[in-house]
Symmetry: C2
């Protein structure tokens, strides 16, 4: 179990439900636009939001957003330690750096000092693309090198007694990512930020992040998650929420399960399930709804569903927890199920 670290008003670690993150891709320098984007992503379910702070102008935009929202904001910093210090002063809840590209130990010390003074946590983010040269020579570009590189950078911060740390060790290779985090979780009890880097776009990217993040969460590893997609960041938020839902970690939603359909199916399983899923997307209450195409497996496989239908030729069986409660015309299935859902929420 990892220790608890506060990121603004949000706590991560200590066996809490993993916190959903995303990163903005608007121009950080445009503070008004950035704030609007933060509000949009926060409404969709992002609990921590990161923005790139890569110039003085970006720092101003970031500071504007910090002043106008209580959503914990993270400044993504590369190379420039002055921007890291500026972001901490501006109200960042966390600074994401790789101390390896910040430079001298003196600079690291100044960044740590600013983070302590202004209450910002630090994420040490090591990617396979930014490893220490000597470790690559020693291990090759392996999970061992990634983890040792991360722990070395952590030590450069810890020596000042600063422990509000989060660590990430990302790679674009799923198997390497999973191995690295498994190794890392044995070396530290700091909260871990999970992600597969440069996952790309489309279904392949969603699948990469799902397997990488999902299999780690299944092993009890991971305290905050970010799905990287080359897409609108709101897709990242939905994907992250769906990973938590798929694993049963987030249970507060209408879980519409359905059979894969086959020749036995005589009702529109696909359409029904999709329509019920859409109609209930904002219900934050745990409810399991089963849309089954036939009675062969329907009642058995759907028996832990709160509400279910097992399709028949003209009439279908409505059931609850495996017990038949009504037989209705197929034309009334959707209406009946939505009514039953409404009764329970």
């Amino acid at each position: 179990m990892s220790r608890e670290v506060k990121i603004g008003k949000v706590s991560i670690g200590n066996n809490k439900i993993p916190v959903v993150q995303t990163m903005t891709n608007v121009d950080t320098a445009d503070g008004v636009l950035l704030l609007k984007e933060i509000q949009r992503l926060s409404s969709a379910g992002a609990e921590i939001i990161r923005a790139s702070v890569n110039t003085e102008d970006a720092l101003k935009g970031f500071a504007y957003a910090c002043r106008n929202t209580d959503v914990p904001l993270v400044a993504d910093i590369h190379f420039d330690y002055q921007l890291a210090i500026g972001a901490a002063k501006a109200g960042a809840a966390k600074i994401r750096i790789n101390p390896g590209n910040i430079g001298s130990q003196e600079r690291v010390k100044e960044v740590v000092s600013a983070c302590r003074d202004y209450g910002a946590a630090i994420r040490v983010g090591v990617n396979k693309g930014s490893l220490d040269v000597d470790l690559v020579e020693k291990y090759g570009k392996t999970p061992e090198a990634i983890v040792e590189s991360a722990m070395r950078q952590v030590e450069r911060i810890e020596r000042y007694g600063f422990t509000d740390l989060v660590i990430s060790v990302k790679s674009s290779d799923v198997s390497e990512t999973v191995e690295s985090y498994r190794l890392l979780s044995k070396s530290t009890d700091y909260p871990l930020h999970l992600g597969v880097t440069e996952a790309g776009g489309g279904d392949l990217a969603l699948i990469k992040s799902s397997i990488g993040i999902g299999s780690l969460l299944l092993s009890g590893i991971g305290d905050t998650i970010r799905v990287s997609l080359s897409d609108d960041p709101i897709s990242e938020v939905y994907a992250a929420k769906n990973i938590l839902r798929a694993l049963g970690i987030d249970k507060n939603f209408v879980n519409v399960i359905s059979c894969p359909t086959c020749a036995r199916t005589s009702i529109d399983v696909i359409g029904l399930a999709e329509r019920i899923r859409k109609a209930t997307i904002n219900v934050n209450k745990p409810l399991k709804v089963a849309i089954m195409g036939c009675v062969v497996n329907g009642l058995g496989e759907g028996e832990d569903a709160d509400i279910g239908v097992a399709g028949g030729k003209d009439k279908s069986v409505i059931f609850s927890k495996g017990v038949k409660i009504a037989t209705i015309d197929n034309a009334d299935i959707e209406k009946t199920i939505l009514e039953l859902i409404n009764e329970r929420i």
Copy 2:
């Protein structure tokens, strides 16, 4: 490592690349339609295709398809042992049964005998919805009950010396599915058929199957996979192929990786990646293409890419294996990358 079992012309097990399966959802009784569907799914990448054989008419349609394709076909049987025997005689490469719902041992014996005579393998498919009552009493509806139930049914077939077996133990709960297969893989060396049952539709379903199947494959478990979606079965085939690609098990494709985009990005990373992915979807050659929004991480994180671009304000850097090979106008990125891909295939 699991032993090898032949499913028609396809072998599974013995550390081979997991074989992609799907299931038709047209009326099996319509043999002509079924055959057309099998050809469509096979062209998309399905290596083994299952159909429900639930009536005498369905058996006729299934037999017609068997006579007219060399794609290994699987008959999905529930309850009726005569249909199982009929399907074996008709040329099924595999019969999917749960002997528990076939009935007496005498009937199981007849089914096994037909499968031996006509060269059909058997998948013993146990779902959480169809467990033996005494095991549920002993263990509750747990992975232990699922696995012991499966192994008990396997024994009912093995006693006739029949070992052309494949086993599946599915649940709609991802964590339970993963635990069941992990337990099963310790109890047997028969090839395992992986899937999450009633995964439902939409992204949540895709994510459930990705995590369940993906995390098992990451542990070296699984010989054939089926993604269950309440959707056109062709989506199941693409999803299964994407899982194998995401894990690097199937390397014969153009893997377009891209950065998640941020304020530093000055080229259209999302659009470019998507257009290149679509233009190369049918290339069965291993090639890694990196679309990176900036030079900060671009060359480093994309350094194992065969072809890559790191975006700049007006001009971008084209690189190969981390080495810069050209600087081009941003308007020429797509054309240049597609040309470079064509040169290599």
